[in-house]
Symmetry: C2
Subunit: 345 residues, 2 copies
C-alpha cells in the first residue's frame, strides 16, 4: 500500500518538494499561506513523515536503546520508565530490549541496535557477560553508552550505580547489632560488579566488628531461585548453622524465608534475613523483609540525564561520569521482632 509522501503533496499543490519539506518542518522560510495549504493537504491525505528517510539523511534517529537482562521483577521496568521520561523531555524515543540473561542474545541485540542506528545506549548487562566487545563497538563508533546497576568497570564510560558496598555493610552491621554472630551471605555471581561490591561490604562489616569471615557461610550462586532453595537448606544443615542470612537480592531472601518457614524455624528468632532492593512484595509478606532500598526511579533518571549530557558534548571534551546513589536500610520483622517498618539511611 502506498504511503503519502511529500512528493505527492507537492504534485497535488503544484509546488516543489523542498517547499513542502519546509512547510512540514519548523523552517522559517515559507510563506504562511503555503504552509497552511500544505498542512491541510497533509492532514487530509493522512501524511506521516518517513522517519527512516529523515534519519538516513540527518544521520540521527533520536532513538535510544535500553537493554536490560530481564524485566519481570519490578526493578528494571521502573528504571526504564525513569530513563524514558527523562529522554522524552529532549525528544528522544526509546527501543527496549531484554537480553534474557543470555550473553548471546545480548550480542545479537547490540548488533540490531547498531544496525538501526540508535543515537545512544543505556544498558545493564547479563550475568553471563565477561566479554564487552559488543559494547565497545558503540564506543568506537562514537555512540554514547551508559551502564547502570550492572556496570562494566573496565570500560571508560559513564555509569550509575547504587552504593552496593555501603548498603551491604549497613545491612550486615544491623544484623551484628541485633546480636547475630554467624551471618551467612548468599552472593550473586562474580561476573556482576554489584555482587562483588556487596560481598566486600559484607566482609568488611564483619571484620570491622571483630567477627571472623567463615568461607563456609559465603555462597556465590547464579541467581537461579531453585538453587537458592538448595543453598539455604545446605547452610541450615551445617553442623554450626548461621543465625542470620544476608541475601544478594529480595527474591533470594524471600526464598530463604520460605525455606525457613518450611523447616519450622522462627524468623527472626532462629534465622534473621536481610535482602537487597526493597521489592514491593517485601513489605506485604509476614514477617516483612528487612532490606536495602535503592532509589530506583532516580537510577533511571540519572542514566537518562548522563546520556543526554554526553549527547550534547563534543567527543573530545567528554569525560565519563560515575554516579553512585545512596541506599537506605529498611528494617522490618525479618530481623527485629514486632517492629513496625523503620528506615535507616
Amino acid at each position: 500500500m502506498h504511503q503519502t509522501t511529500i512528493i505527492d503533496i507537492a504534485r497535488q499543490l503544484g509546488i516543489s518538494k523542498s517547499t513542502v519539506s519546509r512547510a512540514l518542518t519548523a523552517h522559517p522560510n515559507v510563506n504562511a499561506k503555503t504552509r497552511q495549504r500544505v498542512l491541510e493537504l497533509a492532514e487530509k491525505l493522512d501524511y506521516q513523515r518517513n522517519q527512516l528517510a529523515i534519519s538516513l539523511v540527518t544521520n540521527q534517529t533520536h532513538t535510544i536503546g535500553i537493554m536490560v537482562p530481564e524485566f519481570i521483577s519490578f526493578f528494571f521496568p521502573k528504571v526504564i520508565i525513569g530513563a524514558q521520561e527523562e529522554l522524552a523531555k529532549s525528544g528522544y524515543n526509546v527501543i527496549i530490549c531484554h537480553s534474557n540473561e543470555s550473553y548471546e542474545t545480548e550480542v545479537a541485540n547490540a548488533k540490531a541496535l547498531l544496525a538501526s542506528r540508535v543515537d545512544g545506549l543505556i544498558v545493564s548487562h547479563t550475568k553471563e557477560t565477561r566479554n564487552f566487545d559488543h559494547f565497545m563497538t558503540f564506543q568506537r563508533k562514537g555512540i554514547p553508552v551508559v551502564f547502570f546497576n550492572r556496570v562494566c568497570e573496565a570500560m571508560n564510560v559513564s555509569n550509575v550505580t547504587v552504593d552496593d558496598y555501603n548498603g551491604a555493610f549497613q545491612a550486615v552491621e544491623h544484623l551484628i547489632q541485633t546480636g547475630r554472630k554467624r551471618i551467612a551471605h548468599l552472593a550473586g555471581p562474580d561476573t556482576l560488579a554489584n555482587s562483588r561490591n556487596r560481598l566486600n561490604g559484607y566482609r568488611d562489616a564483619l571484620t570491622a566488628n571483630g567477627l571472623p569471615i567463615d568461607p563456609e557461610l559465603v555462597i556465590a550462586y547464579d541467581l537461579n531461585l531453585a538453587k537458592a532453595n538448595i543453598y539455604v537448606n545446605h547452610l541450615l544443615n551445617l553442623p554450626n548453622p548461621p543465625d542470620a542470612l544476608f541475601a544478594m537480592n529480595d527474591p533470594t531472601a524471600l526464598e530463604a524465608l520460605s525455606v525457613a518457614k518450611h523447616r519450622g524455624l522462627s524468623v527472626p528468632d532462629d534465622l534473621a534475613i536481610v535482602g537487597f532492593s526493597d521489592d514491593p512484595i517485601s513489605s506485604l509478606i509476614e514477617p516483612g523483609l528487612t532490606t536495602v532500598s535503592q532509589p530506583v526511579d532516580e537510577l533511571g533518571q540519572q542514566a537518562g540525564q548522563l546520556l543526554l549530557r554526553q549527547l550534547s558534548t563534543n567527543d573530545e571534551e567528554f569525560v565519563p561520569e560515575r554516579i553512585v546513589l545512596p541506599t537506605s536500610l529498611i528494617i522490618r520483622g525479618s530481623t527485629v521482632k514486632n517492629r513496625q517498618e523503620m528506615i535507616q539511611s
Copy 2:
C-alpha cells in the same frame, strides 16, 4: 563520525557495491571467494548494515510496535515477552512503548510508531481511550493491528482476550457457594471492555443463583489504588456491609485485604476477597488471595502469532480472528479458611 558502508568496502576491494551487497546478504550469485573477501573486510572495518537504508528501499522494517498502558505490574511485561519470543522466531524486532495510561501519550506513541514505519502493532489501550482514530490510521494504511487484554470491540481487527465474563462468573459463584450473600464488586472503568465483561459476569452469577443485585455494592473506579482504599472503607461502613468482595484485579484485592486487616476484620470470616489475574504476590501473602488466573504467556504468544498470520496474508483475503483464552479460579485462604491452594478450571 563516519560509519563504514558497502561503498567503502567496494572501493577497498576494487569491486562494485552491488557485489558487496550480494556478498553481505544471502544472495546466491556471488563467487565464494569474493564473498569471503568481503566478509573479512567487513569484519575488519566494523561494518554494520544500515537498517534505515535497507528498510527505506525494501519498504519493511521487520519491526513490530508493542504498546501497553503500563509495565510495573507483572502482567504486561510477561505478555510482551511472550509476544516478543513469538515474533523473534520470524525475525521480527520489537519496539516497546508505554502510554502511561495517558490518551495523549498513546496518540503521540502511535504517531511515532507510524513514522518509524513499524510493520505491525500489538496494543492494549489506556483506560482513558474512547476515541480509536489513531489506531484506525494503521488499519487504513494496511498495517496490521492486534489488540490484547484491553480491546477495541468496535474495530474490525484481530484480538486476544481471556474469558473475563466466565472468570468473573466463576469467582462470584465460588463466593456464593461458600455461603456469602452480600457480594460487593469493585469494578474497573467502563472504558475497558474487560472491566465491562467482568461486571456482567458478576451480575449474571448473582442472578443465576437467585441473589439480588444491589447497586450500592457495585463501585466502578479508575484503578487508582488510593481510591480503592477509600471505596473499600466506604463499603465496609455501609449499614449493611458486604460479606465478600470481588475486585477488578489483584492489586485492588490486596488493597482491600490490607484495609480489612487494618479494621481488625478477619479474612475470610468477616470478609471474603477474590481478585483477578493471579499476581505473583497473591500466593505469597497471608492469607493467600483467591483469584482468577489468566494464561499470561499464552496471551502474548497468541497476539504475536495473530500478527504474524496477518502479516503473511493478502489484505483482501484477511479475516480478523478473535481469540478468547480460558481462565481458572485459584482458591486460597482469602475465601476458604485453612485451605491449601486449589485450582478450579
